[in-house]
């Protein structure tokens, strides 16, 4: 299985990838992680490639061979779209990060609705308000854990919920475990809510 994680510096992409990879390895599954984080500063593009099971060969997911995208930011989701198979699930936190360049008119941050439409043209999009759910759980820094909850609930990962929770526990400070588990549950609930809402919406056209 090929999973792509995308966001900007400060989103916790690298840490999230490690949590999933460690959970997979604990379950005895082969894994590879490829990361690009360029400079350590905030706001730059960050992407990681996570390959689990028989796909765990080279560290890079080839074009349009990705089974899933966990995106922490809309423009970054769009940037990695070319790595996804048609119909692959995209879990998106729809909180944009608009940089200095856009404010100065050096580049133009696309309209978020338009980004969502373009993604929906080929992918099965689950959008979550992860930033706000994380704030609800206690802090914006747990946005990535909300996303992990949503990912887990989607049932697409070949990794159990318990293993993910154990991997989170191993990574966060003792005092923060409870809050993180709450964030995880809010993420799970977000997926169930999305599923319930989808029953009444037409399924995206994936025919072309």
């Amino acid at each position: 299985m090929n999973i792509v994680l995308a966001g900007v510096g400060g989103n916790g992409v690298v840490l999230t990838t490690r949590i999933i990879a460690e959970a997979a390895l604990k379950e005895g599954t082969d894994v590879r992680v490829g990361e690009v984080h360029g400079l350590a500063q905030r706001g730059g593009t960050v992407v990681s490639h996570l390959r689990i099971g028989p796909d765990a060969k080279g560290v890079l997911v080839p074009q349009r061979k990705g089974d899933m995208l966990l995106a922490f930011e809309p423009l970054e989701a769009l940037r990695q779209l070319k790595l996804l198979k048609k119909g692959a699930k995209v879990i998106l936190n729809n909180e944009p990060f608009i940089g200095v360049d856009s404010h100065l008119g050096l580049s133009k941050y696309p309209d978020v609705c338009q980004i969502v439409e373009r993604i929906q043209a080929t992918q099965d999009l689950v959008d979550v308000d992860a930033t706000h759910l994380a704030i609800q759980a206690g802090s914006v820094i747990m946005t990535n854990v909300v996303m992990l909850g949503t990912l887990s609930a989607s049932n697409e990962l070949p990794i159990s919920r318990d293993s993910l929770l154990a991997a989170i526990k191993a990574r966060v400070p003792q005092t923060m475990v409870e809050a993180n588990f709450k964030a995880f549950e809010l993420g799970e609930k977000a997926f169930r809510d999305w599923q319930a809402a989808r029953v009444c919406e037409p399924h995206p056209d994936l025919s072309n």
Partner: protein
């Protein structure tokens, strides 16, 4: 990350490790005694990880002031009979070349391993040089791992090879090894030796020409020996594929071959399997010197051989020469035929394109129309200095001063976080060539006869690394230049490593706190001042004065890195002050944004168009000085002095 991570795991355990951690672990398994490095992405964490565990395990680990020094410290240890490792990004190999090309002549008494991280995609480097050429130039063997397990195992083996040949050995890795993570099975740790002793032998270590010349023959013999050792290297492996299925070598017949060096092997394997190709593949781990017998017999049995390698055509050239030398007729293809690209890193799609061309198949999944449409919306992100970065304040002041003087002026830049200030809107530095170039280039601009003021900008880390000789040169050769040292007392760009101005060494122990002003004075600079980066008025006035002074002058613009300030505030559970915008006063003119380009600015239309301040503002206060309508303030703080007052509250 919690604790010391997987670095000290028990033997037999299988853990998830980055390539850098794997290399570090390999060194521990080899019982390394001395570790040196100068920071440089993507190699930095190899040594950062080792620095943390060095005091407990009882070996020496240091960040040296530059790479040239680092290799000399490491070589001194290896001359004294203990294993030493030096790590650098590839650009640092340019600096070690002077020592390296002689240390191969003397040879070493214990393993000396140089970990070099090349950056073919230029994620964070000024060029894309291929350090294998330095292996060839100096005659030092080069090893290239294909994954994390090999990175660990080959790091350990590199010491053995180094001792077998009495030569320094390169371990060449790239970001796809360094920053990727792999399951790695750990081996036993070895206790580091601490009983080094330098045994004199002038004919071997005093490399005046009398003693050096006769040793060239020995070096030649070592290369011949290395080729034979490499023929047997356990990571050089040949496998046969038939219709994408893997067989042991010789089990099936093939006429097409692939030589895949280092981390390109998994890409090749994936493409061959997915496309169901038939080919004999040589996975090459020893890229210099070539295992000539192994490669010779490999190509002898084939009609056509593709060379897959990242960087320049180093293996391809050698294989061509070997084929010619041994009168082998197989057609050799690769970069020379433009079947594989000359620049950038490889990936499975690029390797797939190349093999696809040969076999008339397609690996890369096309981007259909909706994907192409989506791609059109994508915008690049232009990097910006962090919110509260003192470099922004310094650039703001330099720009103001140059504008007020009205005589124009050039700012020769250097290498560090301040490179982000070259982008709009600051556009504060005009060159970035290599570490330390700024001051000497500003001298060059001055000596060219330019009538404009000649300025230089350099960070404290870079000044210690390579700026001191060029400042001395400016004094000696009377350059009329104005040098600004952006002193944030840390090497920020590569992830906050210590330097001689940090008061602490790599192992977390107290180190003498270098007095930068005294160093500059001692070099003979008569005009030196230390000014707080956020004291814009003082900085502007000082730049204007020093530009007029006839001789080299230095302004040390000092304020700690904003991320360090934030971290310290958080540790002390203090709240970060933030700027607020008075919506009534803000006209939405964006002058603040256009002047300083701070990423903590947002934009709101509600109830009318105005600037807003986002949560990651840390209250440096610079924006307050830019607003024509006094719409920005920091509650409870006085205008303009904010950056200074907060920073004084924070201990070093």
């Amino acid at each position: 990350m919690k604790g010391k991570g997987p670095l000290l795991g028990t033997a037999g355990e299988k853990v998830l490790m980055s390539g850098n951690e794997a290399v570090a672990r390999g060194c521990l398994e080899a019982g390394v005694s001395v570790v040196t490095a100068y920071p440089g992405t993507p190699a930095t964490n190899v040594v950062e990880a080792l620095g943390e565990v060095a005091p407990d395990l009882g070996f020496w680990a240091e960040f040296s002031v530059n790479e040239a020094v680092a290799i000399e410290v490491a070589a001194g240890a290896a001359f004294s009979g203990v294993r030493a490792m030096m790590a650098t990004k590839m650009l640092g190999v340019n600096l070690i070349a002077d020592a390296l090309t002689v240390v191969t002549v003397t040879g070493v008494r214990a393993g000396l391993v140089i970990v070099t991280a090349d950056d073919p995609q230029q994620f964070s480097s000024q060029n894309a040089e291929d350090t294998r050429f330095y292996g060839m130039l100096a005659k030092a063997p080069v090893l290239e791992p294909a994954d994390g397990q090999e990175a660990k195992d080959m790091a350990k083996y590199a010491f053995e090879l180094s001792e077998q040949l009495e030569l320094p050995v390169f371990l060449r890795i790239t970001p796809r090894i360094c920053h990727s993570s792999f399951p790695v099975e750990l081996g036993e740790l070895t206790k580091p030796k601490r009983d080094g002793k330098f045994v004199k032998d002038k004919k071997r270590f005093v490399m005046i020409s009398t003693y050096s010349r006769p040793r060239q023959k020995l070096l030649r013999e070592k290369m011949e020996k290395a080729k034979l050792i490499n023929d047997q290297n356990r990571w050089n492996r040949i496998v046969d594929f038939q219709n994408g299925k893997q067989f042991p070598k010789g089990a099936v017949f093939n006429t097409f071959g692939i030589i895949a060096s280092g981390l390109t092997y998994p890409y090749v394997e994936e493409v061959v399997e997915v496309l169901g190709l038939s080919a004999r593949v040589l996975k090459l781990a020893t890229t210099f010197p070539m295992p000539e017998n192994l490669i010779g017999s490999f190509i002898r049995e084939l009609d056509q051989v593709m060379i897959v390698e990242e960087g320049d055509n180093v293996t391809e050239m050698q294989v061509r020469a070997l084929a010619q030398h041994r009168r082998l007729t197989a057609r050799i293809i690769g970069k020379d035929d433009n079947i594989l690209p000359w620049s950038g890193e490889l990936n499975p799609d690029i390797v797939g394109d190349a093999l696809g061309k040969v076999f008339g198949k397609k690996f890369r999944e096309e981007l259909t129309e909706p994907y192409v449409e989506a791609e059109k919306l994508i915008q690049p992100r232009i990097p910006a200095l962090c919110a509260g970065c003192p470099h922004r304040a310094s650039y703001f002041a330099i720009k103001e001063a140059i504008r007020k003087k009205g005589k124009g002026g050039s700012v020769m830049g250097d290498r560090g976080c301040y490179n982000q200030g070259a982008y709009e809107p600051l556009e504060g530095m005009d060159t970035c060539i290599c570490m330390g170039a700024s001051i000497a280039m500003a001298s060059g601009v001055f000596h060219s006869g330019s009538s404009e003021p000649s300025l230089a900008v350099i960070g404290d880390g870079t000044f210690y690394h390579a700026g001191i000789p060029s400042l001395l040169n400016a004094v000696h050769n009377r350059s009329n230049i104005t040098v600004l040292i952006f002193d944030n007392s840390i090497t920020a760009m590569t992830g906050h490593q210590v330097n001689p101005g940090s008061g602490q060494n790599l192992m977390g122990r107290p180190a003498p706190f270098t007095n930068l002003k005294k160093v500059v004075e001692a070099l003979g600079v008569e005009h030196v001042r230390v000014i707080n980066s956020f004291d814009t008025k003082a900085l502007v006035a000082a730049v204007m004065e020093e530009v007029d002074y006839d001789g080299p002058s230095v302004l040390i613009s000092r304020s700690p890195c904003a991320l360090v300030v934030e971290r310290n505030l958080r540790k002390r559970k203090l709240k970060m002050p933030v700027a607020v915008v008075d919506v009534d006063k803000c006209t939405g003119c964006k002058v603040c944004m256009k002047k300083i380009g701070c990423p903590a600015f947002g934009w709101s239309q509600d109830p009318k168009p105005h600037m807003e301040v986002l949560s990651h503002c840390n209250g440096c206060g610079l924006c307050m000085q830019t607003c024509p309508f006094n719409a920005i303030s920091i509650p409870g703080k006085k205008e303009g002095v904010l950056g200074m007052t907060i920073r004084k509250e924070v201990p070093k």
